[in-house]
Amino acid sequence: MNSSPAIESDAPDLVCQLDNVQGMVDALTCVRWKRHQDALVELSEHGIVLIVEESGCLQAKVYLQREVWISPKPSNSIHQTVESVMLYVCEKLFTKYEYGAEGRPRFGISLGLLVDCLNTFSSPGHSNTIEIKYPGPDMELLLKSVDTLNSCIYSEIRTRIPETSEWDYNFEQAGTAPLTFTVKSAALKEAIDDLEWPGSSVQISLQKSPPCVTLRGEGHGDLQIDFMYYANTDLLLAFHCDTEVSYGYKYKFLKATTANIPGNVARENRGSKLTIGRGGMLKVQHLVSVAKALAPQVESAGYQPPSRIAYIEFFVKPEETA
């Protein structure tokens, strides 16, 4: 290493290393629903959070947490599964994480530029390990590849002072128990893709008995997709609902929650968890693997062992009911 020992006062807010750039690209790509998008990045001792927002109706967060406690058990499952007896596992997402800031530094950055830039770091032939440092001499975000003999990639991305207005997406549980279901990511993506043709609005309904999730699009004609809990246990992994609810969401916002999941992530086919909160606020959660690429270890049941994960969360506000 050729970095000189940092002087206390000059220590950067953050120096971290990640050994799977592609995982980070995948995670950030999930929330990139248009070409030019401003993102807010917040650093803390617990990790990096990136937030994007649109029209006051849609917000997405990517959590790159320093340490992740993973339970292989699908949460809120009605049925006990074999996996649920396994223990929680602590995974370190970063191979190095040196946090030197007080408070939580935040900065604005172009998401598109960040993703395109990170993508060059993951090009084959280069080491997949990257060092992220903030701030540079001019408040830039500094990236560089490490551990490659005789070649390196480096980048400086200009950051912005973030907007002061807070994006308010307070998510609160609707009732005494959460209204939630977990569905295979690929199935959810397919269902939402199919709802494109009816158009503008999609009604999501949860029904207690028989337990069922309905997605219904109305516009030029209508299309209804039902996930019956007992009929599709392999698709609908978990379901919890103690009262019937139904809210409408703008199609384009709903689509943004699944449309940009990269193909390789969709193929991993983890579960996506959807929760409806107070006032109909919809929370969609995905998990993206940031584990170092190894030979695929998919077991016969298709179950993948827990690994380092980035959390993606979307919040979608419901349409105003007339």
Binding site: D116, C117, T120, S123, H126, C152, I153, Y154, S155, E156
Partner: protein, 319 residues
């Protein structure tokens, strides 16, 4: 003006699987220049703001029974549509393999002809491919331009001669795919590439806009031509600082080229070269990429084939 030859099996392989596949991506038309000893494919040589690409084959690599005659020192040049030529060669190959049952005895003849196409009053020049199958013969005519006049051939030869200048320093990139993958991804970030080549064997490619600077540096490449040792005190500097200092010392040169041009020149990797050399021409006139081919199974340069590209340099400050 006469030209007639048989393509050898090796020649067919070289053209079909490697060179025409690459040339097809370099641009729509190119000049084919035939002399007594060599055949050239020349892209953008006369009309110059694109990537110039020059491929030279010794006749015996491609042909046997090669016959050429013209009043202009037995030189013939014409332009043609590369994709049509590529298609003709590909389908000739498929006919050969289909009908000869894999026997290489089947010969592919190539010749220059003048024919009167239907609904035309003037005879037109064609490059004709004749493939003899088991019971039939397939003839394909690739339309070509009128052969160049004596003065045009001289102009082409002069351009060709001046395009052979070697940069004073060349650095060798052993794995061009790494560079290709990187620049291919980089194109989303910026469209002007700053290429710096030093006598110490460093190659740096970098794009910068108002929002981002992104670059890659390859160090300790082998150098042909002018070389010098990097000062020890530079070793711990960042890539940018090192290249700036090398330029200031006169140990490095830097030019700006278009990312699009750079990617186009990387298409030459379809010809499967064994390595590539990058260099900057004197006065920063152009970025030169020379591809090296080895005699199969050896570490000796195959002198019968040569390929190089010259990338036009952008005026600094103009985007």
């Amino acid at each position: 003006m006469k030209f007639k030859a048989f393509l050898t099996e090796n020649g067919v392989n070289l053209l079909e699987k490697r060179f025409l596949a690459a040339f097809d991506k370099m641009g729509k038309t190119c000049y084919l220049f035939l002399t007594k000893h060599h055949l050239f494919f020349l892209h953008n040589l006369l009309n110059g703001d694109g990537v110039q690409c020059i491929a030279q084959f010794r006749i015996d690599v491609l042909f046997d029974d090669y016959r050429i005659s013209s009043q202009n020192e037995d030189r013939i040049a014409f332009s043609l549509d590369v994709s049509l030529l590529y298609r003709a060669v590909k389908s000739s190959v498929s006919i050969c393999t289909e009908f000869s049952g894999g026997l290489a005895s089947n010969r592919l003849q190539i010749k220059l002809v003048k024919k009167l196409p239907s609904n035309c009053t003037q005879p037109m020049p064609f490059l004709t491919f004749e493939t003899k199958g088991y019971k039939s013969a397939v003839i394909q005519d690739v339309p070509i331009s009128k052969p160049l006049s004596r003065s045009q051939v001289v102009e082409l030869q002069t351009a060709l001669d001046s395009a052979q200048d070697l940069p004073p320093t060349l650095v060798q990139v052993q794995d061009p795919n790494q560079l290709l993958n990187f620049v291919d991804r980089m194109k989303h970030v910026g469209d002007v590439l700053n290429v710096t080549i030093s006598k110490h064997g460093d190659l740096q490619v970098q794009t910068s806009t108002t929002l981002i600077r992104l670059g890659s540096e390859f160090q300790r490449l082998s150098v042909i031509g002018d070389k010098s040792q990097a000062p020890a005190e530079d070793r711990n500097l960042s890539a940018q600082a090192r290249s700036e200092r090398a330029i200031a010392r006169g140990d490095a040169q830097s030019v700006q080229v278009s990312v699009k041009h750079f990617l186009k020149s990387l298409q030459c990797h379809l010809t499967k070269p064994d390595s590539a050399f990058y260099g900057i021409a004197p006065q920063g006139a152009c970025l030169t990429v020379i591809f090296q081919f080895m005699v199969p199974g050896t570490r000796q340069t195959d002198k019968s084939i040569s390929l190089h590209c010259r990338l036009p340099v952008l005026d600094p400050g103009s985007n």
